[in-house]
């Protein structure tokens, strides 16, 4: 049975008309001890089938190519642009439920059709000159979470020093416990700066400035 029903597919198809260039989606799975890998594969396959501008490559964690992405948890989704450029945009866990929104926004962003930001904000983002790692912990039933994920991913897209990952807290209990996640979205920047809630872009930027 299809995971995405026809009605949703049609809606997504209309949204995907915004895609500008091709986006190459890479899914890395693990054969054993991965409860959500097969569902995620079905989901990502169905999503990428909706538009001709989307390609999908499924890798096993043991593949040499998979190791190049430095992924440590599975399933992991990486969005590459038409030239296979890696912007550091990752999704750990299935981006279903509410998170389908950040997944779609990520695809649109990497295709080059993301929302244009005001000039002063662009300048601030481009000025980030140190390595920044952003983790956004989410649950699939959280309406505020996709906004936080999309903003983190936008920063990663716009500046090569920034890496941003969505982490589904229920799938990855161990790391969520390690980062003491009991409310979402929880944003962790460079391991020790924490933000709670769907923060405006300016809050991300001032947290980064204050590091």
């Amino acid at each position: 049975m299809a995971m995405i029903d026809d009605n949703s597919k049609n809606q997504i198809k209309t949204i995907f008309e915004q895609l500008k260039e091709q986006v190459n989606v890479v899914l890395i799975v693990k054969k054993e001890e991965c409860e959500t890998c097969s569902d995620t594969q079905t989901f990502v396959t169905e999503m990428t089938d909706i538009s001709e501008k989307l390609t999908l490559e499924v890798l096993d964690e043991s593949d040499d190519k998979a190791k190049e992405f430095g992924v440590t948890m599975y399933p992991a989704i990486i969005l590459l642009d038409k030239d296979n450029k890696d912007y550091g945009i990752k999704f750990y866990g299935i981006p279903a439920g509410h998170e389908i929104n950040s997944f779609i926004m990520g695809l649109i962003e990497v295709s080059g059709a993301g929302e244009q930001l005001p000039e002063d904000v662009v300048k601030k983002i481009e000025a980030i000159n140190k390595p920044i790692d952003i983790k956004v912990f989410i649950t699939l039933s959280c309406p505020h979470c996709p906004g936080a994920v999309a903003k983190a991913h936008k920063l990663a897209f716009m500046n090569k020093n920034v890496n941003a990952e969505m982490i589904e807290a229920n799938t990855f209990g161990e790391i969520s416990t390690k980062y003491n996640v009991s409310g979402v979205p929880k944003i962790v920047i460079n391991e020790d700066t924490e933000l709670l809630g769907d923060q405006p872009l300016n809050a991300f930027l001032s947290a980064i400035e204050n590091l």
């Binding site: 209309t14 279903a96 409310g183």
Partner: protein, 324 residues
């Protein structure tokens, strides 16, 4: 795994409000009151725009709505999507992620945002709603996001088979307790007086075997280390304090109006609510208000939406009379 989608990325993204244009009316807030005000104002032929933090407002945090006429059962998010789609049919510019810092009454009304943009209009409709009320007890701020939550649908799933507590006695509290009872092992619901929720919800509450009810009970303190671990309760009848182990505490004790940016511009009740007359007019000519931000007593989606319509019609009349 059950896959359920909550698609809300707009297919037709609305235009944004322009800062170099004079509007007939600018609406602050994108919940039921703001969206309905936009619909009514636009149909009257006004130049209208919406400035909001997020389209949909706090209804987005409501899992199921069962009392909006015409919808037997709909998620809060779907209902707001219907509202938004309806408004988008009319080409109303909407700017989201906007926070208002100040409103000034100069030749026209000026709305200043926290990102230092200025928008101008002949009239303003304030529909900024409210934010969750905090308990105001020791430990609450410390453990916010570390066990204390104000969004049960967001954080509930983090407590699979856990022990959680809901504070409050209204519909939102009972609704959250019912949702959590399907996830957590044990749910306690604590309220300082008696329940004021709809009987239909209380009946469902009483049917759930894993929900314990503590009425006439107050929460004194939240304790823990890196996360909350227990709360101190006080039973008003027995006058006894108790320490109860709790992993997650969901606060659902109502809301406080979001009016701090008004800085004395218009008259407020002592509790911060904007005083409006029966037509949605505030103490300042040309400024109207609607929804949960006002002193209209009942906070309901259908009431907020209707008050939004009233405010828009009042603003239209104000403009037509050439009062601006």
């Amino acid at each position: 795994m059950a896959i359920d989608f909550s698609l809300n990325v707009g297919t037709t993204k609305s235009k944004r409000v322009k800062s170099d244009k004079l509007y007939d009316t600018l609406i602050i807030g994108g919940g039921p009151a703001g969206l309905n005000a936009a619909l009514y104002a636009k149909r009257k032929g006004l130049q209208v725009g919406i400035l909001t933090q997020r389209i949909g407002g706090q209804v987005l945090d409501t899992k199921v709505v069962e009392n909006y006429l015409g919808y037997t059962k709909i998620t809060g998010e779907e209902l707001m999507r219907e509202f938004e789609d309806h408004v988008n049919e009319y080409d109303v510019p909407i700017s989201d992620e906007m926070q208002v810092k100040q409103i000034k009454c100069e030749e026209y009304k000026e709305i200043h945002t926290t990102t230092d943009e200025v928008y101008k209009a002949k009239t303003v409709i304030i529909a900024t709603g409210s934010i969750p009320r905090m308990l105001g007890i020791p430990g609450e701020k410390e453990f916010n996001g570390k066990g204390v939550s104000y969004c049960a649908i967001c954080d509930g799933s983090l407590y699979q088979d856990g022990i959680v507590m809901v504070i409050g006695g209204g519909n939102a509290a009972i609704g959250s307790a019912l949702d959590l009872s399907r996830i957590a092992k044990k749910v306690m619901i604590v309220h300082r007086s008696t329940f004021r929720a709809d009987q239909i919800l209380l009946d469902r509450l009483n049917e759930q075997k894993n929900i314990d009810i503590y009425l006439e009970t107050e929460i004194k303190e939240i304790k823990g280390q890196s996360k909350m671990t227990h709360v101190i309760t006080y039973d008003k009848d027995t006058k006894l304090e108790k320490s109860i182990n709790v992993e997650g505490l969901f606060v659902e004790i109502g809301h406080v109006p979001r009016t701090e940016y008004l800085n004395g511009l218009i008259e407020l009740e002592n509790n911060g609510e904007i005083i409006v007359d029966s037509n949605g007019e505030t103490s300042e000519p040309g400024i109207f208000a609607a929804g949960d931000v006002t002193n209209v007593k009942y906070k309901q989606i259908v009431i907020a939406a209707a008050e939004g319509a009233k405010a828009a019609l009042s603003a239209t009349e104000y403009i037509n009379k050439g009062k601006h």
